[in-house]
Symmetry: C2
Amino acid sequence: MSFALTILGSSGALPAYGRFPSSQYLTIQNRHFLIDCGEGAQMQLMKYQIPVHRINHIFISHLHGDHYLGLVGLLFSMHLQKRTADLHLYSQKGLDEIILLHLKYSKSTLNYTIQFHLFEPDQPVVLFEDEALTVETIPLIHKLPCAGFLFREKQKPFKIDKQKLLPDMKLQHIVLLKTGADVYDDRQNLLYRNSDFTLPPTPSYSYAYCSDTAWNESMITQLQNVTMLYHEATFMEDERNKAIETKHSTTLDAARMAQQTHAGKLLIGHFSARYRELEPALAEARTIFANTELAIEGNTFELSV
Amino acid sequence: MSFALTILGSSGALPAYGRFPSSQYLTIQNRHFLIDCGEGAQMQLMKYQIPVHRINHIFISHLHGDHYLGLVGLLFSMHLQKRTADLHLYSQKGLDEIILLHLKYSKSTLNYTIQFHLFEPDQPVVLFEDEALTVETIPLIHKLPCAGFLFREKQKPFKIDKQKLLPDMKLQHIVLLKTGADVYDDRQNLLYRNSDFTLPPTPSYSYAYCSDTAWNESMITQLQNVTMLYHEATFMEDERNKAIETKHSTTLDAARMAQQTHAGKLLIGHFSARYRELEPALAEARTIFANTELAIEGNTFELSV
């Protein structure tokens, strides 16, 4: 699975009906990310047989407990499982101090290093970049400063159409063709037109995680054409006043955001403890955005051609 | 159920096989206690349909994460559930600072008061006393300073044998008979001998919780004749060296402690992640102490006549 998201927790601030607080596991081209880490995330990772040692990057949207209280337990468990690789933690200021205080009172020294990457959530900022993808923050509107995360694959290599390759072509030509360029072969004074030798690359996917937010006009541009959008939908539409008061969203807010960003798919989650059944929320969102799914525990959403 | 214990977590430091870290819920004569509060304790309370608002006293044995990391989440949930009653928290120093730091960064003010009762774990000390029971600490031997908790019912009232009461006896005489005293009726110059009018009281029960400890000779006297003993048994006997190194106990340590304290029943828990199956540990403990049970999630142990 080159781009797959597994939901570990779908609950709002108060866990209910067996739902866990927010946490998601995202795999992109063999990179493994944890997004938020609510209480019990490590048990959920185990339940869904996700190897914890694979995770090298953890992103925390904000410092409400339901988004990070599973982190310290996970850090201790990584230590007990003999992790030695650096762990990169992306968070707002404060979480570093909290973690260090827990370590102090348990007289613990982890046998790996936590690299803290502290960010301010008020402007989009690139937190991570490598040859395959970028991760940038999405400023959200909530009671605490809060950021979502946008994971965006870079353009992938063009696929070489092997049947069309010429006997004289060299490896260096093929490498250049993969980038999408036309290639000039000076030995033979020939121009290899890219479109004659390649097939289009696999599409590049993107995933936006919007953890806790009121309706947020300002992110519409940033999230244009996102392949998959997770948007909190704490309340159904008949609780709009409650959503406004608590700076959360309704199902219809989430659906409208998917519509206005032209998202490929919408996932809704962070459900209030008042809802035992979630099908009504799903049905409501689908009245505006048909390709909506529930981001509930154990569901995996895979993006593929 | 006037004296009942429900296990919320049975796992050692590293949760495994669906087991949760240490936490237990104890009810004695309509008082409701939480003992340790490992990660996920609030979800376990919900799973077993235990009303969280009933809990007014929480006892934390020590500051290893697997014994308290569920606490901050539970405190937030109590707040969200509109708790207003004071919550009494018994712990070593440090947990107060940790809780306050979490509250600071989430900009939260709880709508109830936490009364911190900080104790030193090196000597037995009475943490709680009312007309029905006492709770005292049990000094344990572990890598961090650590205390168990001994819950002990006071003697219960003698039962009045109603058929034997005399027509002339007054309420004040009956109240005195319930205390176990003989009563002199000066109006009639009569001595009511207690044994003529009462039946013995219901037995008084006790429960000792020994969370994390190496073999601990010094608690044998304190725990003599305890009705029910929970003793950690992180390892089986063939891992004795590991137990010594980590200051934990084996199944046989736990069984010998039950034997030497003349406990009525032994519960074992805090199982290492190396054990998928727990029946072998149970069988091993029973070779020394027959009345042993596994303290595993969802099991309730009730003491009654």
